[in-house]
Symmetry: D2
Subunit: 143 residues, 4 copies
Amino acid sequence: MDPEQRIRASFAKQGLMATLGATLGSVAPGAVEIVLLPGPAVSQQHGFVHAGAVSAIADSAAGYAALSLMPAGSGVLTTEFKINLLAPATGDRIIARGRVVKSGRTLTLALAEVFAERAGQERLIALLTATLMSITGREGIED
Amino acid sequence: MDPEQRIRASFAKQGLMATLGATLGSVAPGAVEIVLLPGPAVSQQHGFVHAGAVSAIADSAAGYAALSLMPAGSGVLTTEFKINLLAPATGDRIIARGRVVKSGRTLTLALAEVFAERAGQERLIALLTATLMSITGREGIED
Amino acid sequence: MDPEQRIRASFAKQGLMATLGATLGSVAPGAVEIVLLPGPAVSQQHGFVHAGAVSAIADSAAGYAALSLMPAGSGVLTTEFKINLLAPATGDRIIARGRVVKSGRTLTLALAEVFAERAGQERLIALLTATLMSITGREGIED
Amino acid sequence: MDPEQRIRASFAKQGLMATLGATLGSVAPGAVEIVLLPGPAVSQQHGFVHAGAVSAIADSAAGYAALSLMPAGSGVLTTEFKINLLAPATGDRIIARGRVVKSGRTLTLALAEVFAERAGQERLIALLTATLMSITGREGIED
């Protein structure tokens, strides 16, 4: 399976992404994009997109960026992430762009920038850094 | 409105919590509990609860713990959080328990411990620390 | 070597701790204390203890708490930490108390609470969470 | 005072930087560089530069990048930072480059990349993200 197919097949298994209505955007080696549409189903109490939903797509974008550089057969798990939320998440689309900062044998550092797009203009609303662990040879943990 | 009613009314407006099937557990001044049931709708690719869903309930639990100590009329926004994921999130129930570490005029530090319960036994699976900002006098940002 | 001797011998090799004038306090399995005296040598521009010095003793306290539970012959490295600074670091003594949250084969999560002591009263001024990695069989990386 | 002079004057008051032997490199609006020389005085137990020393220069570089964009008369305090440590800090020089990600009225997000230079080659060894708070009108908290 080529790397893009691998990411797309794995993303299709993330029930949470379907539940949130998130979709996979562009996929390249070390760089993955996920898109979320604002709306009541993903909101917090003031009507903005919930920090948890922003974090979910940012974490997935970072994780798939990491997975895209890992050897076939290995799986990826997030061991930690931090997210700074810079502005309320509103607009036409929320776009998380993950990319690998440093790829290691066991641990990979990735970051994700999250943008709110309104009328074609993007604004940075959050920044995530995440540590991803490569898991090999554990049953059920692949991709 | 008493503090518990305030938290319950705000939680009911978080569309994301309904979408995830998360429910509010106990609510006390400075301490709030949120419960999530594992299942395909909140899963990642290996069948565990997605780190984003774990983060969402942990962030909300920490945020509401902070809000429970803020003056009436103020609203709460997360400015940043970090979560360490200690073990795959599986089991009968995932329980996030938020509590305030230090409450300030503008910024509050809260943490949330997340437990996986299986057959009545709880195991710590994640730890979140979050900075919450108190917002006053901004239209639409209340509770 | 017993665990306390192991930690004390390793601490004595941390040139930075001597440079900062930091000293090792109590050492128990999974819990280690480090003490720093405020003063111009460790200050930032307003005269408070520098966040970097607070972080240094908090990181070491968390790291040694982790090392105290690792098998003999293994070494400890910090892979990431986050610190929330709650109040300016001033007073008679700054005390970092590290303890293990979850000890794993490869990764350990530890936290450190940092207190400022003035006239015998302690106040929480910072909270750190850190991921520590156990390293085995790499030359020069022991304790 | 011009912005560069302001940063250089404030840096000269950071007793910790002198104690560590750290020096200020280039200073531009929103971007500040700090340099540290490895050696026993800033080491941890295996002889690498201590994570606390790496964090101290990274935090200062991020903080001064933030201060460089703040109005005269305001002071800067770090409220939180996270650092991911990617490789042991060794080499001829350790260089922290801070820059502002988003500048706000009260809170600024900055990051710092830390490089180890050996034989003229740089390698990324750490990444820090920090929240800086602008303080105005509090006696003794300036620059």
